[in-house]
Symmetry: C2
Subunit: 304 residues, 2 copies
């Protein structure tokens, strides 16, 4: 087992979906990722919170053996996102974004983080992603996520970071936007052309498409009939993905990348079953294995 | 091997997609289905065409051992559909529908068709679907497709036919519309509650979801980077599905239904690579097997 470093947002979210509402709940990519990946390995978080950040919210991660040494607490309010989902649960509609202390976030790695072997650069400014990469000494496997904003305003910088990571994990809509094509097969190859050895396109309820070593690996999501809140599904996918790789900590190859995708997919299928972190903070290993067995039967057939 | 009966539309289509245009090409659900399923078994077509229907278009099906005894030719023009696809190739935009001779279509089965064992009721008025069902003697396996129009204006009749068939094959958007929910897992169960032993939801580039005997079977489409024209993908999915069942002609169970879905999925992946029937009319068995092998590698992993 090896340590994972994540840098991303730590936030409070207010979310409304056809299934209900949740006000001011814990969120942010770094939190979603950490809760998921801490099921597999030790996690080191780099982020920033304001002085309104609740003690119980620090405690949730500490209790899961997540290091918060790199979580800066500064004067001001914590990042707050307000969003809603309408019938189409695949798309979040942002109602308000208050960056607050996140606006001037300057990621600094504590000495103890610098030897982390697995590094996930969640969706933040690509310049900050680069800054984090410059501070880690000899990572074994690095991944990034991004969003439409950075594709819009910092595409060249984003391409530069893509050239320095092992894997890009990206939403399907953003992959298409980045590549300028609605065809996901073309888009994934275009992203791969910038250097990462693997690209994983996250397709929400349709699962994922991975491309690596000239091969595709494509599978659907586990069928869930009670989708309560899709927020964080992508970040917990990344959490399961990196968690799996760090836990096994063997040579990364096509087969381990495939298994990493499966774990991401399984964890994400739990995430959407509750608001915020409510479902995945209760996840244990037997639940992951149980769903894996069911998942295998959902996607398996004997060729007759 | 056993004979397949299909009833559906026979049409000329004018289609425009981001990849180009095709004017007045052969189309219609019965044609798409027949070209696909004739790769597997003998097919009997029930439909109607006008006096403008070209000899070469009859000949295409005859050359594939498709019986056209039940294809009525009447005075007037053949059904004509004009449509386009924009960037989102998952959705056809209808520009014009000229029903022409199809408006008064009254399906009558020649005596030689009445013992067909596999029956596919393509997307036509559910009253006509019932009328066809009343004429077949002892079918072994019957399926239907439908569309938003019939869900809108003849839902009760449609439910009645669903109760008389073995499988419902339906687009994802229409499944959601029928069931009044955006959750496909819920929608597929709702449709199954009307009686069919299996329901297959066709998800375009995302593949399919099948539900039967309380179990799900879900897989993605084969990744295609040159989607030229999605028209007919759903009908050729049905063609591969029924073709497989008729060719093997053994007991229909979960495993054979799964294999039928795979064949549907493979054939549909070829359909979208060309305008109209251009790609699938050249399909041979080695192409199906070749893609099946590639498909297996795209969806397979060894659990580590």
């Amino acid at each position: 087992m090896s340590e994972i470093l994540v840098v991303g947002s730590v936030a409070y979210d207010s979310i409304s979906t056809p299934q209900g509402k949740a006000e001011h709940i814990l969120g942010g990519s770094a939190n979603y990722f950490s809760v998921a990946s801490s099921l597999y390995a030790k996690v080191n978080v780099v982020g920033v919170v304001g002085d309104d950040y609740a003690e119980k919210d620090f405690e949730l991660l500490r209790s899961r053996n997540v290091s918060l040494e790199g979580l800066q607490q500064v004067s001001g309010k914590t990042f707050h996102w307000q969003g809603k989902y309408e019938d189409d649960m695949n798309e979040a509609i942002t109602l308000e974004t208050q960056l607050n202390v996140f606006e001037h976030f300057d990621p600094t790695l504590p000495e103890s983080y610098k030897d982390s072997k697995y590094v996930f650069l969640a969706n933040i400014d690509p310049e900050l992603q680069l800054k984090v990469l410059e501070q880690v000494r000899s990572p074994k496997f690095v991944g990034l996520d991004t969003m439409n904003l950075w594709i819009d305003i910092k595409k060249d910088k984003l391409k530069e970071v893509m050239g320095k990571v092992d894997v890009v994990l990206i939403n399907e809509g953003e992959a298409r936007m980045f590549a300028g094509t609605m065809n996901t097969v073309k888009a994934i190859k275009e992203i791969a052309s910038h250097g990462p050895r693997g690209v994983v396109v996250k397709r929400g309820e349709y699962g994922f498409m991975m491309y690596s070593e000239g091969q595709f690996f494509v599978l659907p999501a586990f069928p869930v009939d009670n989708v309560v809140d899709p927020t964080g599904a992508g970040d917990t996918f990344a959490g399961g993905f990196f968690g799996y790789l760090a836990k096994t900590n063997t040579e990364v190859n096509m087969e381990s990348l495939k298994n990493a995708c499966i774990h991401g997919c399984l964890i994400a299928s739990y995430t959407v079953e509750g608001f915020g972190l409510s479902k995945i903070e209760k996840l244990d290993w037997s639940m992951v294995e149980g769903r894996h067995n069911k998942y295998r039967s959902v996607i398996s057939y004997n060729q007759l």
